[in-house]
């Protein structure tokens, strides 16, 4: 858990870039891309949160065995 805040900040930064470029890729029009962005970002972060839950569950179930 050391430096968790730094890691989360870095994750948010890279997520912002990925989602923004994804929105630009999907929409040639700037306004449409801007409108798409919050939904895409929410979906992306939700997907990441789900992945974290799955990874933690796997770690708890398999990797933590004595």
């Amino acid at each position: 858990m050391k430096d968790l805040g730094v890691h989360l900040a870095l994750l948010l930064l890279i997520s912002t870039a990925i989602v923004t470029l994804g929105a630009f890729y999907g929409e040639a029009d700037d306004r449409a891309a801007r409108a798409l962005w919050p939904k895409q970002m929410a979906k992306y972060l939700l997907g990441l949160a789900l992945l974290v839950v799955v990874l933690l569950a796997c770690e708890h179930t398999f990797a933590a065995l004595e």
Binding site: V6, H7, L10, L13, I14, T16, A17, I18, T20, L21, G22, F24, Y25, G26, E27, A28, D29, D30, A32, A33, A35, L36
Partner: protein
């Protein structure tokens, strides 16, 4: 006649896919196939010249940067040189992964390695140009979207700026160059070395100008201690380069749609989704459509938003 309508005229230069594949094998071959002899020879001289100059400077040792366990057939395919298939095949056949024992690097191996990699990337642009040229009725028109895309490699966001999309270009520049700068800061410049991080470097190379400039200025640094955030820094640099591919596809797609009078890409517009679906069902994406085939699927010119 409006420009877009003019570009829908039937052309008989050749198959776009064949032109692109020929260029992949031998730079300029696709242009020769399309009857553009001067262009083809100039591209061949430039791209192969760059590749073999790089090979000469590096003594053919670029792939000896890899540790023994990473020397597989995948390695050349994951390098920027793979954009010049003929070149990389020749290099692997001639030099492979080296003599199998350690020997000193040539003095200019870093420059040589970067030149060969740049040749691969430039040939990818030549392939795109050949594919566009085969479809455009006016050869000169095929150059503009490719030049915009190439500018996006020279500096992220510059291609958008060339197309008059200033705000988007500025956002792309700030995000991608900012990510790369942060990555370089976090990894204390250790990301700027192909020898140290062969595959991350390949991704980062797609960022183009800023990555090359940073490597030229700061790439000679020594690593003398553990760097706490080196992994994060490498990921940031590499992801910035790969995201620039999305930015360049955006630039090319915009220019291509303008050239052929197609509607701009939009996921929120059900009309374009439906049209894309019917194109796919017909056995080819927008990129493979011949102008005469595309005519029936196109909107009227007044509906085109540019």
């Amino acid at each position: 006649m409006p420009e877009a309508a003019h570009n829908l005229a039937t052309t008989h230069r050749g198959q776009p896919s064949v032109a692109a594949i020929l260029t992949w094998l031998v730079p300029g071959a696709g242009h020769l196939y399309l009857g553009r002899v001067g262009y083809g020879l100039a591209l061949f001289a430039l791209i192969e010249g760059l590749y073999f100059l790089g090979l000469e400077l590096a003594g053919g040792m670029s792939f000896e940067f890899l540790d023994a366990e990473l020397r597989t057939v995948v390695a050349p395919l994951l390098s920027p040189e793979a954009g010049n298939l003929g070149g990389i095949l020749w290099q692997m056949k001639t030099y492979g992964f080296g003599a199998g024992h350690l020997r000193p690097w040539p003095e200019h191996i870093v420059l040589g390695s970067a030149l060969s990699a740049a040749s691969g990337v430039l040939n990818a642009f030549a392939m795109v140009h050949a594919h566009t040229l085969a479809r455009a009725s006016k050869p000169a028109d095929a150059t503009r979207p490719v030049v915009s895309t190439l500018l996006g490699w020279v500096c992220p966001g510059l291609g958008h700026l060339h197309q008059g999309r200033t705000a988007r270009g500025a956002i792309v520049f700030v995000l991608l160059v900012g990510m790369f700068a942060l990555g370089t800061f976090l990894s204390e410049g250790s990301n700027l070395s192909r020898e140290r991080h062969f595959y991350y470097w390949a991704g980062q190379f797609l960022l183009g100008g800023p990555a090359l400039a940073a490597e030229a200025l700061l790439g000679a640094g020594q690593v003398t201690r553990d760097i706490p955030y080196v992994e994060a820094g490498l990921v940031f640099g590499c992801v910035a380069g790969m995201l620039n591919i999305l930015a360049m596809i955006d630039v090319y797609g915009y220019g291509e749609a303008k050239l052929f009078g197609w509607p701009q890409r939009s996921h929120s517009d059900p009309r374009s989704d439906k049209q894309a679906g019917s194109d796919d069902a017909a056995g080819g994406g927008a990129a493979d459509r011949k102008p005469q085939d595309a005519g029936s699927a196109l909107p009227r010119l007044g509906e085109i938003s540019t």
